[in-house]
Symmetry: C2
Subunit: 423 residues, 2 copies
C-alpha cells in the first residue's frame, strides 16, 4: 500500500470513529439537508435551516394570514422570549438581560453611543485593527460625530488581540473598549474576562461583539462581568439570512444607559402613545421600531435548538472538529503552501479554522465547483466553518481531501483571480 493511500484511509477511519462517538451526531437530523453530497463548511457565515424553524416559519406565516393584527397580542413579547432563551441557554446571562433587536451594527451603534454618553468626561473608544469592518465603521462614525478618539489596538491577524495590547491602550480617558469575542477572520478567541477586568480597572465599559461566538463557544458574560454585548443570530444560531440581532446590557447598568434612537418599542406603555419619550426600565429600552415577527420566530427556534444541545457540548465538538481539520491540513495541505491562520490551541479558537494561501480565492472557487462550500476572506484566507450541530468529521475529511486533490491537480488555477461582489 503506497504511503499516501495509507494516510487517506487513516484520516477517514478517524473521522468515522469520531462521528460514531459524537454525542451531538443525532442533531444533524434536526436540520433540513436537501443535498447530502454538498460539503458545507460555512456555517459561521450562514447557519443551516433547522427543521423546526422551517415548520415554525410556515406556521408564523399562516398566523399572520389568519390572526392578522390580533397576532400582536402574542408577538409583542417575542423579542424578550428569544432574549431569555439566549441568556439562559447560550450566553451566561440571566432572564431579562438580553433582547432581540435590529441588526448587529445598529445595536453596536446604540450601545457604544449609550456607553460614551455615560462616560461624558472620557474621549476614547478602544477597538482592534482586525475587528469586523462594520464594528470599526460604526466606531469611526461615532468618533467623528462626537469628537472622540478611536484608539486602534494592533492585533495579530492569526492569533487575535492580546490582553497586553489592550492594556497598553487603556488609560483614564477610555470610555469604551469594544472587541469581537471570536475574531471573524482567524476565529481567535479573545480573553473576555481579562480584557473586561483590565477595562474596568481604568473605569471603562466593555462592549463585546458575539457574532462569531454565540452558539459556538461558551460566552462568559456574567462571570466576566461584561457590561454590554451584541451579536447576530444567523451564524451559529441558525436563524436564517439577515435574521435580527440581539443585545445584552448588564442589569445594574441598564437604567443608567440611554441609547440614542428613541423609538416606540422602547417606550413605557407604548400604546398609550404619550407625547414624551419615557423609556422602560427593562432591557426593552434598547428596542426601537417594530421588530420582525418571522425573524423572531426563526431566532427563537434556532436558539432553542442550541440550548437543547448545550453550549458546552457544542464548544467541545467545535474544538474537536477544528483539531481534526488542523491535523489533516498539516499533513495534506501544508506541502501545497497552506499555513494555519488560526490559533492552534482549541481553547483559543471559535467555531472555524482559517487557512492562509496566496491563491485562497481561486481555491475557494475550485472548492465550490467541487461541491464544497468554504468561505473566503480577503485577502488570502480560506475559512472553514463548522456547525457543531450538523457538521460531521467526515464532512471535514471530504472538504479537505477535495482541497488536496485540487491543489495536487492545480485545477484552482483555472478560476479567476478577480474577486466576486459577494465573498
Amino acid at each position: 500500500m503506497p504511503p499516501s493511500l495509507y494516510r487517506v484511509t487513516d484520516f477517514l477511519s478517524r473521522a468515522r470513529e469520531l462521528d460514531a462517538a459524537d454525542t451531538l451526531a443525532p442533531f444533524r437530523e434536526r436540520f433540513v439537508i436537501p443535498d447530502e453530497d454538498l460539503v458545507y463548511l460555512d456555517g459561521n457565515s450562514l447557519g443551516r435551516l433547522p427543521v423546526s424553524t422551517r415548520e415554525r416559519l410556515h406556521q408564523a406565516i399562516d398566523e399572520w394570514g389568519g390572526d392578522l393584527i390580533r397576532g400582536w397580542d402574542r408577538w409583542i413579547t417575542l423579542s424578550r422570549e428569544v432574549g431569555d432563551v439566549l441568556a439562559g441557554g447560550v450566553l451566561d446571562a440571566a432572564p431579562g438581560d438580553v433582547v432581540l433587536a435590529d441588526s448587529t451594527s445598529v445595536n453596536l451603534y446604540k450601545l457604544a453611543a449609550a456607553a460614551c454618553a455615560a462616560r461624558p468626561a472620557r474621549h476614547v473608544i478602544v477597538t482592534d485593527d482586525d475587528n469586523f469592518p462594520s464594528d470599526r465603521y460604526i466606531f469611526q462614525g461615532l468618533a467623528q460625530a462626537r469628537g472622540l478618539e478611536l484608539r486602534v489596538v494592533k492585533s495579530d491577524i492569526d492569533l487575535g488581540v492580546s490582553v497586553e495590547a489592550v492594556r497598553e491602550a487603556l488609560d483614564e480617558d477610555v470610555a469604551l473598549v469594544s472587541l469581537s469575542h471570536v475574531a471573524y477572520r482567524s476565529g481567535a478567541v479573545a480573553d473576555m474576562a481579562a480584557i473586561t477586568a483590565a477595562a474596568h480597572e481604568v473605569g471603562a465599559l466593555t462592549l463585546w461583539d458575539l457574532s462569531h461566538s454565540a452558539g459556538a463557544v461558551r460566552v462568559p458574560l456574567r462571570s466576566a462581568r461584561v457590561d454590554l454585548a451584541a451579536g447576530c443570530t444567523y451564524k451559529h444560531l441558525n436563524a436564517g439570512p439577515g435574521a435580527p440581532a440581539f443585545l445584552y446590557v448588564r442589569a445594574d447598568l441598564r437604567r443608567e444607559l440611554r441609547q440614542p434612537i428613541w423609538g416606540w418599542f422602547g417606550q413605557r406603555a407604548q400604546f398609550d402613545m404619550a407625547a414624551e419619550y419615557d423609556p422602560m426600565d427593562s432591557i426593552d429600552r434598547f428596542q426601537v421600531g417594530t421588530p420582525s415577527v418571522l425573524g423572531a420566530y426563526a431566532a427563537l427556534s434556532g436558539a432553542k435548538l442550541t440550548a437543547e444541545a448545550g453550549i458546552g457540548a457544542i464548544a467541545e465538538k467545535g474544538a474537536a472538529l477544528g483539531a481534526y481539520a488542523i491535523e489533516v491540513s498539516d499533513a495534506w495541505l501544508a506541502p501545497h503552501g497552506f499555513t494555519l491562520a488560526s490559533p492552534r490551541a482549541g481553547t483559543r479558537r471559535g467555531g472555524h479554522v482559517t487557512l492562509h494561501h496566496t491563491r485562497a480565492w481561486q481555491f475557494s472557487q475550485a472548492l465550490r465547483a467541487a461541491g464544497v462550500v468554504p468561505d473566503f476572506r480577503t485577502p488570502d484566507r480560506l475559512r472553514l466553518g463548522f456547525g457543531a450541530l450538523y457538521t460531521r468529521f467526515v464532512d471535514v475529511y471530504a472538504g479537505l481531501s477535495r482541497l488536496r486533490d485540487i491543489a495536487e491537480a492545480g485545477t484552482h488555477l483555472e478560476f479567476p483571480e478577480q474577486h466576486a461582489r459577494v465573498t
Copy 2:
C-alpha cells in the same frame, strides 16, 4: 316596511352594487383569507397575507436551506430591487431613489440626523403634535443629543396639520420639517407639495413619514420635490408583521448627506473589508447591517401586487370605501354618539376612517367579539382601515351594521374600560 329595515336594505344593495362595479375586486383572490366570516378593518395596522407572498416565503426558506451562503449572490441586491418596485409602482420616484432598510424609526433617525448635519448652522426640527409617537420620540432624542430645538406645530387631531400652521413655524433656523403624509390617527392627508415648498423657501429640508400613505394614496415624492422619506411595508404594502421599512433620498442630495450609523452594507465594495468607512454614492449608503432576506422577499411580493393594481385605482377605491363608511356612519352611528374624526373630503383622507366615541375602547372589544377587527387608538378613537385590494364594500357594511347592533343593544358596556397592553 319599517324605515330602519328599508335603510338596511338600501345600504346593503349599495354595497353590493359598488362591489360589482369595483375593478379591483379580483385582487381579493390574491390574498389568503382563511376565515371569510371575519370582517377585517385593520389593514392600515397590518395588511393581509398575499398568496404570492406565502409562496415566495416558503420558497425563500427552502432557498436558505438549499443554497445556504450561496444565496447571498442573489440576495445582496434584494433591498434595491424592492426599492425600485416601490419607486416606480407605489411612490412617484425613480429607480435608485429608494432602498429597503431597518425599521421606520431607525430610518427616520438616520435621515433626520443626516439632514441636520447637512444644515449645521440651523438648530430647529419642526414636527407636529399629532405625528406618530415614534417619530416624535426619535426627534426628541436627536434634539437632546445635538442641542437642537424641537418645534412642535399644533395640528388638528381630526383634520391633520395645515400648511399655514407649518408656515408659521418656519424661519431661517429650521434645518428639517418632518411630518406624516397621512396622519396615523385621523387618516388626514397633509399637503406634501405645499409644505415641502414652504420648507424649501426658508432653506429647510423635508422628511416625510409615508407609513400610512405608501400603498394607500398617491405619494407625489418627485412632483413635490420631497427631500427625504421613510415608511413601513407592513400596512398597505402587505409585507407582514415587522417587515423591513424603506427610505427615499432625492438623487441630488444623496452624496451631500451622510447618515450617522456607518455599517458595512453602506460601504463601497463591502467585501474588500477596507479599514476606513467609505460609503457608496448610491442610495445604498443609507443601509447599515445585514438585511432580512425573508423580509425583503415579503416586501418585494407585496410591492409588486400594489404596483400591479396601480396606486391610482387603489387610492380611488380607498376614497370610495371611506365615503361609503362615512355615509353609513352618519345615518346609523351618529345617533349613538359617534362622530367623524377624519376629514370628510375623500381627497384629504388616506386609507382609513376614524370615528370618535367616548367608549371607543369598549366598542372595539365588542366588535372583535362580534367577528369584526377594527383598530383602537387612544384615547377614544375607533379606526376603520381599508385595504383597497381586499376590503369589499359589503365588509364595511357588515362592520358598521354590527357596530350599530352593538350600540343599540349596549353590549359594549359588558367589556372592560381598562386598556390592553397592545391596542
